[in-house]
Symmetry: C2
Subunit: 680 residues, 2 copies
């Protein structure tokens, strides 16, 4: 069992003395999406975005749209809705009205974070970089001009609302906006070396740290996010006070001083000791941001109680509360988690931000542990529950990502609370930083895509890894190593849990590996030109949910590779989705369709349709009537879930009812079957 | 097709000239729970409660507890929580604080209505009647003393809240409280002939009618209920102004003057023309009360648009939005209807009040049409979704009536909004009034129970009908006619839709009848001593829900007679409910258990249980894994749904997952089966 490095004395003394160190001037060039090179408990150290060159393929196409379409159109909308003007009005334009929700500053900060990661990306064109850098510099000028000399910066609590600052921490989002300011500043710093926004974040963070705390004014994160940002700020600056403040936030000691109510504590997933949580509840994004921040905190401190809580929560999420798409948050009411196994498909909330948070959290857990089960969840959420959140055009966004719909429009260009659009954009733009990591003993390959890693081993040896693949449409991967001299290290190859075989060969020689859902370690002395080839089994899988998930019992979902599939009404030749049933045991045909939905692979299978529309049948009736109902064969066409809703509004479903259940009553053959299976 | 009598000219002229007539002094003795003797469109005319003598049996036991335990303990709690003091403080006790919710007056009115129906009942003992009458007289004194000279009466909008009267009709519940005051007054009048409370209701109603209307101040029912009360007040007094005001409420013309918002209009199911509704939405109780009132209105006026709307709504309810228990309201958020087919079992709200409203509405539709499909729904809701709302002890009440639970306590003695307890009590106490009705051509038998009807045919001929039965535990019914002389009329015998055969005999001779779910008309000249015997098929039925109900797909529920059954963990010999599966095609044993839960019949069937706890299995996995999972035989014991939760808190479920679905992949036998069924 892994022994975590634990700053025990520090935890007891409330002063953390960790691995903090003075930053080298060019250290920003080494910093990944999260920067773990000095984090004692981190097994993996993500490479910087700049070290990864993505080739053509799935994510490159998606990111190109993000850079060229999503970022500029969203900035236009932020301008149009006054989100930038809110800053301008504090520096020379007092005539402008304050517009938007209380949290709107954070939407701009997230846009800047997204644009910053685009600046760090090798795939962004020089002209786009020039434009984006100009945009950020201009926005940063407005932001800096709006910041008060004492560091305070929130465009809502000004003028006649100044006296309300930090008086309603449950709802005010001031800590949330500060968190996103910090993260935007860090991203811009890591992309360019410019401390312009980073220092603004530091000034506001220092204001909070100086004025709040156990012996000062009380603080709580009404919407957790600041915790993650503070740990990252600690990692960026080496200043332990930010880590200490994160610990204070997680300590949950201010219930009495702030008169926090239990329903608010549940909703916020904050305000009581983080380590007292035993399950996910309340607002899904808040809860997953809190868990992400707590993972960051544990990665730095190793306080054992945090790991125990994180393990409990992860089990709760992945065994009881996560959609097959990696989406999270079952209820629209409160945008919240449901009870265990409460995972309704059509009523699902599954906010895009929650799926993004799920990726962020599992990325942190992966880097902490090197355990591929986290990469499995990360990949599931990324390809499905996150990816569905933005249209193929890059200009329409989901707030909800339900797993079934009767055809209502799911995506819009703008929401008054427009948290999701820049959130998905910052994830897509930072994505190269998720693909590879180093460890003391080697290199991890987390995700598959045409790409080249151009970085160094942790002993300093320059190192290149070229990856050629058709992923996610096919399971072939070829990795080619380039080193200046023969070098002994371990290449950790992720074998996704969905692949029943991986077909791993090193320089054409098969190697044995028997554990799917793990990193396969290949330790040897590597020479330039050495190859590792993979051949992941890509047969579609017919999946069922745990029988406790009442909404999905008796239904199946198709998955191929990392992609979850769905039926869209528009593809079913006029057969109503509500009349369609799945027949298991029938072969599934795979067909690449470059013409469709940006180029996808569809799945074709023969199913059944009710002769008489199901909606004309009674609401309740004897089982025997249902079993005797006539059905006719139909051909079903499945498309990837992420691509749904990109044509006309049309009903859709991931979980398809299977055509026949417990046929025990309808014939002797059925009874025999049941006997047969009973005695097996 | 039935031609409804329609006051067309009246509708056009906004003045209704109907069948109103001056009441005879003793007419109250003829008035049923609703009084339809002068309602031109009513096919059935319910008999007064006083005409029905219930013998021993299911409802007599339940009503005895209601009279002897529920009414006194609830009155104590209403006193304890200041609901009566709220009236006392307006007449000599200004020192008392105003307590309880804005709607609390209505809770007391409903208690008075319940106690009044108990006064009208032949089964209530003389001592209980004396006590209840004393209680009502005392309460009525406080209520009358609190009423203002102008008629206004609401204990919330007094003192410094006086100026707020009728300023927030969406939330104020003033019209709702008035409605329940009217209904309490009518019930007390119909039980005793006393106009004491009735006149108080009339005074307040006149205040509203005089001051509000299309050309006066605008009015809307934020919580519909007043509509029903006003039509009943019209029926009781013959005053058309109350019917006209009900029409004004249904006209929905005040959206602009009251600045009503669309979400509020949806939630209230009021504020737009009733006849513009096409489906149920919003708050379930509000919507069903509105539909009940609109049925009352249509029964009096025959305005065709109302019937069209009511038909649409009834289809929407019974084809898409009603639980198998007759419970209604899928969502806790807003206590509201869900989308079509959104009927989650564990998350169900299914408020007791909504099931009561479902009974009330279908009773009205039954009396309007004589169509047994409404009695089917009424009976389903009464025996299950309503009946579960009160503990067997009569002192604990459900607000929610979910169809599955993981063992949390569902019933409490008191709720701050304590609408459900007196609602279930008024229904139980008025229940004798639901059993029989007369029509121009005969007598209707709606429900089955040991009882004697002592009333008259509509031509004035005295008439008795004795009923002997073991219903709902067995399907035997014997009806015996007593008439002073041979009399020609039709006895309408309800054949419930759940009974596959009815075995009807007249004086021992079988008669043919082929339509279940209908009233079987037996027209003949009846002599004293003539008998009709029935033998309803009482084999348990294995029911499934429409495949569109995703939460219940692949599951079955058991029903026997009118009773829906459920599994309680406590009966399953230590097997976790979450591990239990149903095997269709296995025989179901029926066992009477006088010792259990007040005397019930249980159902026993052999099922299967997962060898390894289901909750330890993955959340998602390949279908083949699920199909190959080992199960062992277990014996399952089902109890009636209404009786659940009367021992210790224990998990419960109505819908049980069936053990095997679409076995197409697991063996050749399975594939053969599928082929077999395909070609049938």
């Amino acid at each position: 069992m892994k022994q975590w490095l634990f700053a025990a004395a520090a935890a007891a003394a409330s002063v953390l003395v960790l691995n903090a160190q003075v930053q080298r001037p060019d250290e920003w060039k080494s910093e990944g999406v999260i920067y773990l090179n000095h984090s004692l408990n981190a097994r993996l150290h993500p490479v910087p975005i700049q070290a990864v060159h993505l080739g053509d393929g799935f994510w490159t196409a998606r990111r190109k749209v993000t850079t060229e379409r999503s970022l500029p159109t969203l900035l236009d909308l932020l301008e149009e809705h006054g989100v930038v003007d809110n800053f301008r009005r504090l520096s020379g334009r007092p005539d402008l009205p304050r517009k938007g929700r209380i949290s709107s500053d954070s939407d701009l900060y997230k846009w800047i974070e997204a644009a910053s990661w685009a600046l760090a990306s090798n795939e962004t064109s020089d002209s786009d970089k020039q434009k984006l850098r100009g945009d950020i510099e201009s926005l940063a000028s407005h932001i800096l001009a709006a910041q008060e000399p004492n560091g305070y910066l929130d465009t809502y609590f000004v003028g006649d609302k100044t006296h309300l600052r930090f008086t309603d921490l449950v709802h005010s989002h001031e800590g949330y906006c500060l968190g996103h300011l910090i993260q935007a500043g860090i991203a811009y710093y890591r992309a360019t070396g410019s401390r312009k926004l980073l220092d603004a974040g530091i000034r506001f963070a220092d204001y909070v740290v100086d004025n709040f705390g156990p012996t000062k004014r009380p603080f709580v994160t009404g919407h957790p996010e600041l915790e993650m940002a503070l740990v990252e700020l600690y990692r960026t600056t080496g200043q332990t006070k930010y880590l200490e403040f994160a610990r204070y936030l997680f300590s949950g000691v201010e219930k009495d001083r702030l008169k926090l109510k239990d329903p608010d504590i549940r909703y916020m997933f904050s305000g009581k000791p983080f380590t007292s949580h035993t399950e996910f509840e309340g607002h899904a994004v808040r809860a997953l941001y809190a868990a992400s921040g707590a993972t960051d905190y544990f990665t730095e401190t190793g306080e054992p109680a945090y790991k125990r809580t994180l393990d409990l929560l992860w089990t709760d999420l992945t065994m009881r509360k996560m959609y097959i798409t990696g989406g999270v948050g079952s209820r629209s009411a409160g945008e919240s988690f449901g009870d265990a196994y409460e995972l309704p498909a059509e009523q699902a909330y599954a906010e895009t931000c929650a799926a993004v948070a799920n990726v962020m959290w599992n990325f942190r857990l992966l880097n902490l542990t090197g355990d591929a089960r986290y990469t499995d969840v990360l990949e599931r959420a990324l390809y499905n529950g996150v990816n569905s959140g933005m249209s193929l055009s890059g200009t329409l966004y989901c707030y909800r990502n339900p797993l079934a719909s009767s055809g209502e429009k799911l995506r819009n260009p703008w929401y008054d609370t427009t948290c999701c659009p820049p959130n998905i954009e910052r994830l897509f733009e930072s994505l190269p930083g998720y693909f590879y990591a180093t460890s003391r003993d080697g290199v991890y390959v987390n995700l598959y895509h045409n790409s080249e890693l151009d970085w160094r081993l942790e002993d300093g040896t320059p190192f290149k890894l070229a990856q050629a693949t058709s992923y996610p449409w096919a399971g072939d991967v070829k990795l080619t190593v380039t080193v200046p001299h023969p070098a002994g290290f371990t290449l950790y190859i992720r074998w996704p849990s969905w692949a029943s075989s991986a077909g791993i060969q090193v320089n054409g020689q098969p190697i044995s590996a028997d554990k799917r859902g793990s990193y396969v370690p290949i330790s040897r002395t590597w020479n330039s030109g050495d190859t590792v080839t993979l051949d992941f089994q890509m047969q579609p899988t017919v999946l069922v949910a745990n029988p406790r998930v009442s909404d999905e019992y008796g239904r199946v979902a198709l998955q191929r590779g990392p992609l979850v599939y769905a039926l869209e009404q528009i593809d079913q030749n006029g057969v109503a989705l509500s009349d369609i049933f799945y027949r298991s045991g029938t072969p599934i045909a795979i067909e690449a369709r470059k013409d469709l939905l940006g180029g996808i692979t569809i799945l074709k299978v023969s199913g059944q349709a009710a002769e008489k529309p199901v909606e004309e049948e009674p609401l309740y009736e004897p089982l025997s009537n249902a079993l005797n109902r006539a059905k006719r064969p139909v051909n079903l066409i499945f498309v990837p879930f992420y691509a749904i809703g990109n044509r006309e509004p049309t009903p859709m479903e991931v979980w398809v009812p299977i055509s026949k259940f417990d046929a025990g009553t309808i014939s002797a053959a059925a009874v025999n079957l049941e006997r047969h299976t009973e005695t097996r």
